[in-house]
Amino acid sequence: MTTTSDLDTFPKYLLRNAKTFAERPAMRHKDMGIWQTWTWSQMLDEVRDYSLGLQAIGMKRGDKVAVVGENRPVLYWTFLAVQALGGVPIPIYADSVADEMAYVLDHAEVRFAVVQDQEQVDKVLSIKDRLPSLETIVYDWERGLGDYDEPFLHHYKDLQEKGSALLPGAEQGWMDGIAKSKGEDLAVMLYTSGTTGKPKGVMLSYDNLVISAKNANTFDNFDETDEIIAYLPLAWVGDHIFSYAQSLTAGYCVCCPESVGTVTENRREIAPTYFFAPPRVFEGLLTDIMVRMEDASALKQKMFHYFLGVASKTGEKILNGESVGLMDRLLYKLGDVLVYGPLKNRLGMTRMKVGYTAGEAIGPEIFRFYRSLGLNLKQLYGQTEACVYITAQPDGEISADTVGTPSPDVEIDIADNGEVLYRSPGVFMGYYKNDDATRETKTKEGWVHTGDAGFIDGDGHLRIIDRAKDVGKLNDGSMFPPKYIENKLKFFPNIKEAVAIGDERDFAAVMLNIDLQSVANWAERNNIVYGSYQELAQHPLVIAMMAEHVDQVNRDLSEEERVAGAQIHRFLVLHKELDADDGELTRTMKVRRSLINERYEPLIEALYDGSTEKFVETEVTFEDGRKGTIKATVKIEDSKVYGREAVREAAE
């Protein structure tokens, strides 16, 4: 019998949940048309059999196990089954190409790889020769694998059968194995994609994860009645915390979507009570809402926008518990019946208790939009190295431009150069086989460098400006915060991505990516004919629209003393989408600045040499790994700057 104080590993939590929440749902998966559901006690059976099966084919304490695939129950079970045997699971981004995967598998010396399907099996098989330590591959979905006769290839169901054949005799030994693991043991390794260099394996102990998860559950009152939809990459720390650590510690249910393409629909079905999404997802949803509403009848549009107006006036106040006039309150109620309620219903957010966004700055408009609908959307600031939580916004203390107060048990410090440092029980053990990097990041006293520049405001909330090393200077000495500018641009639905340039240059300039969905829709409504992405991006009307957006950003910048000098003097619209397959974005869709500077050098030169257009050839990588080139002539535009500039001109 385990007591609460002994609950220091996830397999132990599984045993507890199977007892305490035996008949409550632990996991759902939309499969074969319905939400297949496992209760905690059923899940224990699945995991136990599977784990014994793994043991039977030779898995030992300390073995490293790669887990590759989308959010499917079997892969989450793999974490538990492996940890129960004292092994260490290493989730890997499902969309990583063979080379990326080979690096991680080799670096982590994995003996086993548990993968989702034929595609991943093929990928692993293609690199197996390079991986001397890799012995066994287990797969989840057998489709197409019928005639694969490699002896080291196993279906997880076969392993479960193997395992269940060993019952009941093997059960006690298995339980003993679970008891052997302790909180300070290595629980999981997460490879961070990192914006530069090779991925680093962040080692997290059970204590790191369990304490962070429990704190988070308390902070937002999560218990076994909550439901979450797991759709973010397994290898990302957020998913590991939200869909694994917090679920096990709180006992709430994790729902796996049918496929990547049906997440929105599946979310609508489940209506999770806890929802996490990076800002781009919220942005995408909002764009989608607005685009769809444009096809509605004029009357409906009018009503829709009227009530959105009402919401933006009173919605947030009501959510924050401030006093609101009776008339406004009634109008908001009416709006809830006519617009907000149905909208939340369509978004699958009807039951949402808490929603978080993090990873990037979210557009204030977007943030307020969701809050005004009555959704408790909050921001948090986190890192893999911290088991996510560094700061989070407590209920009622929400604002678009802060990331909240320090999470429970977390200490924050700001270094002299403005860099944010933190110390907490969630702080990682170190980078796997990379002590130099560990020392660089984590001080002896346990403080971790975030690499972000920020400050604590008067209310005790942390504000992040930019990556510490990315904040640069223009030649005239004014501050140049690229991400700050980029985020302002990206808040326009028509702009998908922006890259600002200006460090050690005379002025700031940007390269833009149009948002295809939004711009294409706009083009359709305005009868603009185009043959390709390129053609649309370079269309004079599209460029004019972008110029308006840039102009708006310049006005905003001009109003803030510290960044007014970083107004955009010139811009261009890129002829191709920045793409993770080309290495231009990280797998978590962050801009890889150095690589972009290199690839688009001719364009950047053109931004500063005064030319009005530039012919370029760019190499692209297709999904299957083939390479090709895109040729285009890119137009370069000037834009107006305000404030200081104007004043200076007048003085001359």
Binding site: D31, M32, G33, R143, G144, G146, D147, E258, S259, T262
Partner: protein, 256 residues
């Protein structure tokens, strides 16, 4: 080749004065993919119609799984294990993907009227059991996203896939595919080829298909029968048939 599944013996089919098929014999071995090719109007579709009982040949016999017959109703053919898709998709267009594939399970369902009336007990259990089978097929063909959509509104390529799913729902021994890739783009053709191969390999289903795209035929088929003007002019391995002068003439339109 192991065992003979179907044997067509000296079949002749006439419509009034027109002879659609003249004295054709060939066999289909268990587990193989057999292609039937030939120019337009060669009698390929008529041949399939004879095999599954739409047309009754004037002469000749058909032996399926050791049973010889000349006349058979289409539903008897279905019951004996022959399923079929059509050149121009013949789905139940007002019904959803799910119901269309479910319709393929009709033969496996036999609960009585009374229990149907109350949709209780055995009838409901049967529906649920069959639904599971159908979901497996939906999963297999990778069409879960169109599960609830009426098929009439689906793009053509998907309709063809649903039709294949409906035929698979019969769990046939012999699957007749009438131009499964007609009107498809390259990507859809590749998908369909993959499904056909998977069906053949995973379920061991014997397949007879009519196809115009010679590339596809060469890739998929184990053996090929060539028809021209209702007569058989070639039979053998794809490579052999491709090299056969009579076949080349027929395709190039050399006058007879």
């Amino acid at each position: 080749m192991s065992e003979e599944l179907l044997n067509v013996q000296n079949v002749t089919l006439r419509f009034g004065g027109v002879t659609a098929i003249e004295d054709i014999s060939f066999d289909i071995q268990k587990g193989e993919i057999r292609a039937i090719i030939g120019p337009n109007g060669a009698g390929k579709t008529s041949m399939l119609n004879v095999i599954n009982g739409f047309y009754h040949p004037q002469e000749g016999t058909i032996t399926f799984r050791g049973e010889t017959r000349r006349k058979m109703k289409p539903y008897e053919a279905a019951a004996s294990g022959i399923a079929r898709t059509f050149q121009n998709v013949a789905l139940f267009k007002n019904m959803s993907t799910l119901d269309n594939i479910m319709s393929g399970r009709s033969l496996k369902m036999n609960r009585g009227f009374i229990s149907q009336m109350f949709y209780y007990g055995p009838a409901r259990e049967e529906e649920i059991a069959q639904r599971k089978k159908v979901e497996e097929i939906i999963d297999f063909l990778e069409i879960p996203h169109i599960r609830r959509q009426p098929v009439g509104k689906l793009p053509y390529g998907l309709q063809k896939r649903v039709e294949l799913g409906r035929a698979l729902a019969l769990e046939p021994d012999l699957l007749l595919l009438d131009e499964p890739m007609a009107g498809m783009n390259l990507e859809e053709k590749e998908d369909m080829s993959r499904f056909i191969l998977d069906v053949n390999q995973q379920f061991g289903t014997t397949i007879a298909l009519i196809e115009h795209d010679m590339g596809v035929v060469m890739d998929l088929a184990d053996r090929v029968v060539v028809l021209d003007y209702g007569k058989k002019i070639g039979d053998g391995l794809p490579a052999e048939v491709q090299a056969d002068q009579a076949v080349i003439d027929a395709y190039l339109g050399v006058p007879h």
